[in-house]
């Protein structure tokens, strides 16, 4: 009895030892090959994939800039609208912030931002059909750059808890104050809209 039992047990044991060793070989090969590919010193070219994409946001300006105002005098004003659309998979808060530079004209540019819907927007940044505006900001352009400089202190008026898809129209009006100290000065600005999931 013992002899035959041992024979059978030996085959069985051999079987699972081989199995365990095969697993080690497979894991080892996977790991070694994976590590070699991952940690070699060559940099893979950007493949522009959205592997983790759960938050996406875009605007409709088609590359146009909202404001390009030259030779401004007191009272010069311009109003432009841009549509910002959130299409992420999870609810997100969208906030607007910006950077303001230049030689100091931003201090004299009164800026009013309203957040509504329906603006024609597009590359012409048209405010036709803008409706339901909620005032988000009313101060100088320089103040906007100071108080809304990143997502943390960004202006999230009327664009919280956005779900896919949600579009808001941002109407931005800029007016030059009547102040000779603004003469000859200039300002630059970028506006950024950022969405972060709630």
């Amino acid at each position: 009895m013992d002899a035959t039992t041992n024979t059978g047990t030996g085959r069985r044991r051999l079987g699972y030892v081989v199995t365990a060793l095969a697993a080690l070989v497979v894991v080892g090969l996977l790991t070694i090959e994976g590590s070699r590919a991952a940690f070699s010193a060559s940099t893979a070219n950007g493949s522009n994939t959205f592997s983790a994409g759960s938050v996406t946001i875009a605007d409709d300006d088609a590359g146009s800039v909202m404001f390009n105002l030259a030779n401004m005098v007191p009272g010069t004003t311009a109003t432009k609208c841009i549509n910002v659309t959130y299409t992420g998979s999870a609810p997100a808060n969208v906030r607007m912030y910006g950077t303001v530079g230049g030689t100091g004209l931003g201090t004299y540019l009164d800026t009013v931002i309203d957040v509504g819907t329906g603006a024609t927007g597009g590359s012409g940044l048209s405010c036709a059909n803008f409706t339901g505006g909620v005032n988000a900001f009313s101060n100088t352009l320089a103040n906007f750059g100071t108080t809304h400089s990143n997502y943390g202190n960004g202006n999230g008026t009327n664009f919280a808890g956005a779900t896919n898809p949600t579009t808001r129209s941002y109407r931005v009006q800029v007016t030059l104050q009547d102040n000779t100290l603004a003469q000859g000065k200039n300002a630059s600005a970028t506006f950024t809209w950022e969405a972060q999931n709630v």
């Binding site: 069985r12 699972y16 080690l24 894991v27 996977l30 522009n48 946001i57 105002l69 004209l105």
Partner: protein
């Protein structure tokens, strides 16, 4: 004695043994993976992290375990595990002028990205292989946790699922592993040994000693399964970090005029009207002439208002000339220009409600063609309140038939005001 198992029963036993071996194989794969991950971490104090995003694809994929060797000497091309100070792009794509980035905005989290360049100040530029843009914040060497050395594919996935509450794949894998663990009995339990001689089937309960000796490796497998699913000693990137995307409208440009002073400009009236003493309550705002008369009872005056532009502080009226074209000429008169003392309207002004005259006086003899007055002080005095100019005869209330007419703004050659600011 029991009969030998029929060939068909033998084949079934072998098949069961094969299934058990497969289950054992799967468990062994998981176990070896854990060993490879844990041993360097435990013995050498290397760091094991779970990749949670695809920003390093295809080198690293979400769910991979990365074992990193501590280093204080980062090099270009190295895949570094580091503590991020600012938002790190988990994925980014450039589209026109807008860069859409998905960033993990949590401060002080671990990130596995590749070092692509060294900065002069001793910091490094990092970037996910799948990202089009490098990370915005430079990497300081003190924040480097280690250099990626070992990658164990997939093994960190349960941790990500746990973090994100992704229960479906978690339950699926757990079920698969549980089935594998249960199957192992057919490979390791002697009672199911297809090559053992058969006494009876199933094994008799009276064989107590044998039953006690039975190894129950499936219970060991279950324990391994538990180990896999319980939070193992891996530091993992929090998969619930805030993802974000941005879009922008850049390069706004605003430039103020070099000087807000309007320079020299020629203005035409926005309002003008005669007032006649003989029609004291009649408005003559629509006539094409402006009368000026000095008589015993028929005095006439003309009011003219120009749209003076707003001027900022520091901007002054350097010169101003009022020019009128004669319509009906009367020689020998002297016409004065003064200021209206208060507001008036072209459509309502009459002799009786006229505001009256005030301010500086400038006089010129009547002219057969055009007449020009220097009204610099008048215009300077018209800021901030502009009530307009008044033309009056220097000798009102005496004589007969002594009138002259100038052309009004309704006429062919309307009044002009030439003003120089500076």
């Amino acid at each position: 004695m029991n009969p030998l198992p029929a060939p068909s029963r033998k084949a079934a036993r072998v098949a069961r043994f094969a299934a058990g071996s497969l289950g054992l194989f799967v468990l062994a794969v998981v176990a070896w993976g854990l060993v490879i991950a844990v041993v360097p971490a435990a013995a050498l104090r290397w760091e094991a992290v779970v990749v949670t995003s695809g920003s390093m694809a295809p080198s690293l994929r979400p769910g991979d375990l990365v074992i990193a060797q501590p280093t204080d000497r980062p090099t270009d091309g190295m895949v570094a595990v580091f503590r991020a100070e600012g938002p790190i792009a988990l994925a980014s794509v450039r589209r026109d002028d807008d860069t859409i980035r998905i960033v993990d905005a949590r401060p002080d989290h671990l990130v596995t990205h590749r070092i692509t360049a060294s900065n002069d100040d001793g910091t490094y530029v990092t970037k996910g292989d799948a990202n089009s843009e490098p990370d915005s914040d430079p990497l300081r060497s003190t924040n480097v946790v280690g250099a990626g050395r070992i990658r164990v594919p997939f093994l960190g996935s349960p941790i990500i699922w746990l973090r994100t509450g992704d229960w479906a794949p978690l339950a699926f894998v757990a079920t698969c592993l549980a089935v594998c663990a249960w199957l192992t009995r057919y490979a390791v339990d002697p009672r199911f040994d297809p090559w053992a001689p058969r006494r009876s089937s199933p094994p008799q309960p009276e064989n107590a000693a044998s039953a006690r000796r039975v190894v129950r490796p499936w219970s060991v497998g279950a324990a391994a399964l538990g180990l896999t699913l319980v939070v193992v000693p891996f530091r993992s990137l929090p998969a619930d970090a805030a993802f974000s995307g941005t879009t922008g409208n850049g390069a706004q440009s605003f430039t103020a005029a070099t000087s807000f002073c309007p320079g020299t400009m020629i203005l035409t009236p926005t309002a003008d009207s005669s007032v006649l003493k003989e029609d004291p309550n009649v408005n003559h705002g629509t006539l094409d002439w402006l009368g000026v008369r000095g008589e015993e009872i028929y005095d006439e005056r003309s009011y003219i208002k120009f749209p003076l532009p707003p001027i900022p502080a520091g901007c002054n009226v350097l010169a101003a000339e009022l020019k009128l074209t004669t319509k009906v000429y009367l020689a020998g008169r002297t016409h004065r220009v003064r200021l209206a003392s208060s507001g008036w309207a072209e459509g309502t002004i009459t002799w009786n409600n006229q505001p009256g005259v005030t301010g500086p006086t400038v006089s010129r003899p009547s002219s057969a063609t055009t007449q020009i007055w220097d009204v610099t002080s008048h215009i300077a005095a018209s800021y901030p309140v502009n009530n307009g100019l008044v033309i009056v005869d220097s000798a009102e209330g005496v004589g007969t038939d002594l009138w002259q007419e100038y052309r009004s703004r309704e006429g062919a050659t309307p009044p002009e005001l030439k003003v120089a600011y500076g």
